[in-house]
């Protein structure tokens, strides 16, 4: 990112804009975390009652409430949770284990899955969107547009089951179940193929349309018209004159997909038994472990904020601090 910025001719205006963008993104994340904490607190039931077992007396529950620190004032706990977040302390789960400890192994696995899916989505949607834009209204354009519209609304688990049936059960090309290696990671790369595909396909649908629409706005720009009149080849105009102008819109689309990828990862991991946060969250559902889910939400929010920040910086880079 730094290289990208130093290469650009950023003046004082752009530097100022970078600061504004950083502060704004940090503030938005803080607001989200406050809302998440409030939602967990204000709704009926807490971690102490959620983990109670049959036959426990009210005294047992209030004792555990004291152990988990839930008997202290709301604002004190809110301050402690928020103050701990920047230092990487995500609080304590309903079972009394630090949330960071529970998520330490699974979260990097989910980041790997989501990161690969984002890379595949970016590459495929750029390629398909550009291909469709070469001849607007042509056969390729209609085929790509139609397929993109068809897949973008599919829930990930439906895609996952279809892939499972075709590429695993019937052909036996890829394993149906992910096996965890001794280091807690994925044992073999072939086990990543189906989960990454299941996650990417709906997002490729979305982003192909965004790329196509962003490129459709470009031909009227004066520098593009000049390039066309100069008789430059079609693909050269597309890549060198149209694409740079479309980058901000494409980047914000992909950044929005990051959140969707996290949500989808929870589902896809469940289908393929992938060792990520999906499994942890499924356990949290059974345990009614809200602090754990809040921790996952905080981490996800931080990652999505990071990606949105990159999109913001790309916009500044490609608009040179204007607009």
């Amino acid at each position: 990112m730094a290289g990208l910025l130093t290469r650009s001719r950023i003046g004082r205006g752009a530097a100022h804009r970078v600061t504004v963008v950083l502060v704004r993104r940090a503030l938005l994340l803080a607001v989200l975390l406050a809302v998440v904490f409030a939602a967990v607190e204000l709704l009926p039931g807490d971690a102490a009652t959620a983990t109670s077992e049959r036959g426990e007396t009210a005294a047992d529950v209030s004792e555990r409430r004291r152990l988990l620190g839930l008997d202290r004032p709301l604002l004190v706990r809110f301050w402690e949770w928020m103050a701990g977040l920047p230092t990487g302390d995500l609080g304590v789960s309903a079972r009394g284990v630090p949330v960071t400890e529970v998520l330490g192994g699974p979260f990097p696995n989910t980041l790997l899955l989501g990161g690969l899916a984002l890379a595949v989505t970016t590459a495929a949607s750029l390629a398909l969107g550009c291909w469709a834009s070469l001849r607007p209204g042509g056969g390729v354009d209609r085929l790509v547009g139609g397929s993109a519209t068809a897949v973008l609304a599919l829930p990930e688990f439906v895609v996952a089951v279809a892939l499972l049936l075709v590429l695993s059960s019937w052909t036996g090309w890829f394993p149906a179940v992910t096996i965890t290696g001794p280091d807690g990671g994925v044992a073999d790369w072939t086990m990543l193929v189906l989960p990454v595909l299941a996650l990417s396909i709906p997002q490729i649908g979305w982003n192909t349309r965004i790329v196509r629409a962003a490129l459709a706005d470009e031909p009227t720009a004066p520098h593009v018209e000049t390039a066309v009149l100069d008789g430059l080849p079609r693909h050269r105009v597309l890549l060198h004159h149209m694409l740079p102008g479309a980058v901000p819109a494409i980047a914000i689309g992909l950044a929005t997909s990051t959140g969707m990828l996290f949500g989808g990862a929870v589902v896809v991991e469940t289908v393929f038994n992938y060792p990520g946060i999906g499994g942890v969250l499924t356990g949290a559902v059974t345990d009614r472990d809200a602090p754990l889910v809040a921790g996952v939400v905080a981490l996800t929010g931080a990652v999505v904020t990071g990606v949105l920040l990159v999109a913001d910086l790309l916009r500044i880079r490609f608009t040179g601090g204007r607009a």
């Binding site: 609304a153 829930p155 688990f157 439906v158 279809a162 059960s169 949500g263 929870v266 809200a290 939400v297």
Partner: protein
């Protein structure tokens, strides 16, 4: 006229599928909770699509398993469209309201809706379907308001709304009588798009087992329950997957056909 035929043709599959799913429980040949064949029994005889993990009739469960999904999704789509229409129209006349909604959308963008639903259903275990509807509405409204605001801005800037404002008409009158009637096409398209999003979200909660609970028949839950026996009776997974897939695709195509061709703009009377 040809434009109308095009829209009718593209919305027909979605309407047909929704009708079949809502009428499904009356068409089911067997009860959804009694075994009629062996667990994961292959199709044949009494069970056209075979049996599920408990030997219950897959066909009957598929026919019964879509109504709640569709009714819940329709409710979400109606609520989101209605709230977004009001907020978007108010925002076009009163920009301060629009800015508040924009910030809310920026914050919610950081939280995947699926995680949001898990968070709320965990914090509020007895919330049930109202909790899911509530979260889906909260997550849907900010994006929907952007969609409406984009279409409402040119209407609000048009002469007759400015004239009405200058004439001292109150906010309620401006929104309901002057702005909203010109956004009919936009709102219809928005309703379709929000229905697609709601189907995605409600189905996903069903799959994650925070929605309908066994022994209820639900397409998403059926997929979850029967994946283990996918080789024994693929139809137990394939049939509900096809149902959800076709619903998502057909409703999406219908919504796309409803979007005004020039993009989400107002239909200004000729």
């Amino acid at each position: 006229m040809s434009d109308r035929v095009r829209v009718a043709l593209r919305t027909a599959p979605a309407l047909l599928l929704v009708t079949v799913a809502v009428a499904g429980p009356w068409l089911a040949p067997h009860p959804i909770d009694a075994p009629v064949t062996a667990p994961y029994g292959t199709p044949g005889g009494d069970a056209l699509l075979g049996g599920d993990q408990l030997g219950r009739d897959v066909l009957s469960r598929v026919l019964c398993g879509g109504r709640d999904l569709i009714v819940t999704s329709l409710l979400i789509a109606v609520l989101v469209t209605g709230i977004a229409a009001l907020l978007g129209a108010v925002g076009a006349v009163r920009p301060a309201v629009g800015r508040v909604v924009e910030r809310a959308a920026d914050v919610l963008m950081l939280l995947p809706a699926v995680l949001g639903i898990l968070l709320i259903t965990l914090s509020w275990p007895d919330g049930g379907r109202p909790a899911i509807v509530g979260v889906a509405v909260v997550f849907g409204v900010p994006y929907a308001v952007r969609f409406v605001a984009g279409a409402a801005a040119p209407v609000a800037a048009s002469g007759y709304v400015e004239a009405a404002t200058a004439g001292g008409e109150r906010l309620g009158h401006l929104v309901v009588r002057e702005v909203l009637p010109n956004l009919r096409a936009t709102l219809l398209a928005l309703f379709g798009l929000r229905f697609v999003a709601a189907v995605y979200l409600v189905a996903t909660t069903g799959f994650l087992q925070v929605g309908p609970q066994p022994p209820a028949a639900d397409w998403a839950l059926m997929i979850r329950e029967n994946t283990a026996g996918i080789l024994l009776n693929p139809w137990a997974v394939l049939a509900p997957s096809l149902a959800i897939g076709l619903l998502a695709i057909s409703v999406n195509l219908a919504a796309e056909a409803l979007v005004p061709r020039t993009g989400p703009r107002a239909v200004v009377p000729q």
